[in-house]
Amino acid sequence: MEKNTYDAIVVGTGVSGGWAAKELTEQGLKTLVLDRGPMVKHGDYPTAMKAPWELPYGDEPTRHDIERHPIHTRPSFYGITQSTKHWFVDDIDNPYVETRPFDWFRGYHVGGRSLMWGRQSYRLSPMDLEANGKEGVGVDWPIRYEDIAPWYDYVEHFIGVSGSVEHLPQLPDGDFLPPMELTCVEKDFRDKVSGKFGGRKLIIGRTANLSAPLKHDKSPQRAPCQYRNLCMRGCPFGAYFSSNSSTLPAAEKTGNMTMVTNAIVYELIYDNDKGKATGVRVLDAETGHQTEYFAKVIFMCASTFGTTHILLNSTSSRFPNGFGNDSGELGHNIMDHLFGTGAHAVVDGFEDRYYSGRRPNGFYIPRYRNVGNDKRPYLRGFGYQGGASRRDWTRLVDTPMIGASLKRAAQDPGPWTISMMGFGEMLPSHRNKVTLDHSRKDKYGLPLLNFDAAHEENEKAIAKEIIDDALEMFSAAGYRDVRSFAVQANVGAGIHEMGTARMGRDPKTSVLNGWNQMHACKNVFVTDGSFMTSSGCQNPSLTYMAMTARAAKHAVDELKRGNI
């Protein structure tokens, strides 16, 4: 037992787990970091430097790839390519149940989805943290913006976020590296939007790519962005934030981290006498060998549904319905962002303007609905992410061009097109839930997760307005061939999983307190997306990072005080 005992255990190495590992080890805790997948060291990105002609099949999935990834090749996802398929789980080996359809896209390896994430980094605003309480939706957040703000500063400074200062109440500014540039058509659209629609603003996306060197010297492995736009393969330049390139090297440097890979945590160990969690039970993914590890404090960062699976599977006389589940809310209130709808258009003119380099970022139109004096028949709102660029050679396929004239025509950049997609807020609802199906087991003998969630009335109203407003703005800008699009997408498609172990003030209606600490077991902290009490419409990863760092500080303080 002694050799398996640490000060802290962190379960998972994605966005949240990496931050927990860094913060706990830097504050002197001997920390065991567990991941259910194999090791990926920074730089160990096999396709990162491949040219288009070095990838088989034009980077498209083969029949065999599609057979192994029936979920990950649904229309709402694009990750199963020759250059990135190795980062996503095999759906046949990793099944789940869908009482109602749910898009669950995941990667089991060190770094988790921090390797493949979209990197868009936005703060929640004061109005986001007040909305539930004001409107009587779900439960009130137990914290306010002022509680997180310094932690947003802290993580932005460390990871590097490129963006512009805008003074918007619905989208607080941060500690930014220089903003990336807009293209000429994006500027044109920006000016027309602000001219014709008061209160709406188009800004460059805020992204965790280094547009300039970091403002600190703690991450020598991270270099500025090279504008290859191949981030999802893993960046050998360390130019975007991933656990692999950023937080895990920092944790390793302390000498306080022990990492064990292929370690599937399937249960938390609860000690009735102490009233605490004492450790975790682990299965080796390759051998099935079972091990127990022990620690004073446990950070659950296994991803929203990963953590929820472990907690639901950890039953005892004290917690017959799942670990920490006195409220009955564990597994409920699934949130994601509305995803997959928007519009596109062709933009005439600007033929003599172009760009160089491939920008791993787009424009952002922050939420403007139900902000200030705007009042809608639904609650909350949405933001748009989009971009404008020139069409490539594919435009020539259905033209009469053939032979030498086709080659010549392909050398000219095509017309400009612009498109944008809405990300809408999803309200917490007790009806949207995930449970364990004990009648069906995976290859390790663990019960499968069963998803039962769908968008409700408020989401449907937002989805309609996302399309209406996009069409209206492109039309008002005078663009041509304005059309809407709607990708077939289920809840989950935004890969912004949230809500299944929510924070709140009252242990009767929430799983965690305002410190991401379990109401019912004070030495267990949950800092992945499952803690989210409401979803906002902003990409949530930055908030997970800030809240993880904040929770880690609190955990260390409480350990020192002897409270946990």
């Binding site: 540039e181 504008y227 736009n229 033929e351 003599d352 160089s356 396929v397 032979g403 392909a410 997609m421």
Partner: protein, 196 residues
């Protein structure tokens, strides 16, 4: 434009039932695909020769290499072997057979000018027919082969580097510059695609 949307607009380009799982393409071993490389694995030798002949008309060698130089026939072979479904394979082979009967003689027995005339005529016919195009017809074969030839070629090294322009590591981003200042002023081989 994000990739999902871009892929969607790609399939909109495909006429009717011709939409294939992918029209974006390039093969793993362009070098191996050039003359002297291993034989085709999906197509028979005569089928491969017909495809090569058509591909050569669609993207010929000019002052820059053409699709055959870039190994595109082998790319098409690999796509049918491993990517396309059995129905798509069957459809393409049937369209190829129809194409071979569309001229006054089998395609490989035609002279160079006759070959070009036939491919040009069928290509125009395919575009004129539009959505109603029969996927196993001779015009459908030409249009499908055009898409595959362009995909294979414009993602090949000569296509990217000698016809279009490609910089593996740009090192900087300039969002709004005159076309004349954007490298050599040609279209970028890889357009900006936002992946959200």
């Amino acid at each position: 434009m994000n990739r999902r949307e871009w892929l969607k607009s790609m399939s909109a380009l495909a006429v009717g039932a011709l939409a294939a799982p992918s029209l974006l393409a390039v093969m793993d071993a362009h070098a191996a695909a050039k003359a002297g490389g291993p034989a085709m694995q999906f197509f028979s030798v005569p089928q491969g020769d017909v495809i090569t002949g058509v591909v050569d008309i669609i993207v010929p060698r000019t002052d820059t290499p053409g699709a055959v130089d870039a190994g595109v026939p082998r790319f098409i072979d690999q796509m049918f072997k491993d990517v396309y479904t059995p129905e798509e394979q069957k459809r393409y082979l049937a369209a190829l057979a129809a194409f071979d009967k569309a001229g006054s003689k089998p395609f490989l027995q035609l002279g160079a000018a006759q070959r070009t005339a036939l491919v040009t005529k069928l290509h125009e016919e395919a575009l004129a027919t539009g959505q109603k195009l029969d996927p196993v017809s001779a015009p459908a074969f030409v249009l499908m082969t055009k898409k595959l030839a362009m995909s294979g070629f414009f993602m090949s090294q000569p296509g990217c580097e000698q016809v279009l322009q490609y910089i593996a590591v740009p090192g900087a981003y300039h969002g709004d510059i005159p076309l004349s200042k954007a490298g050599n002023g040609r279209a970028w081989a890889v357009e900006t695609v936002l992946r959200i």
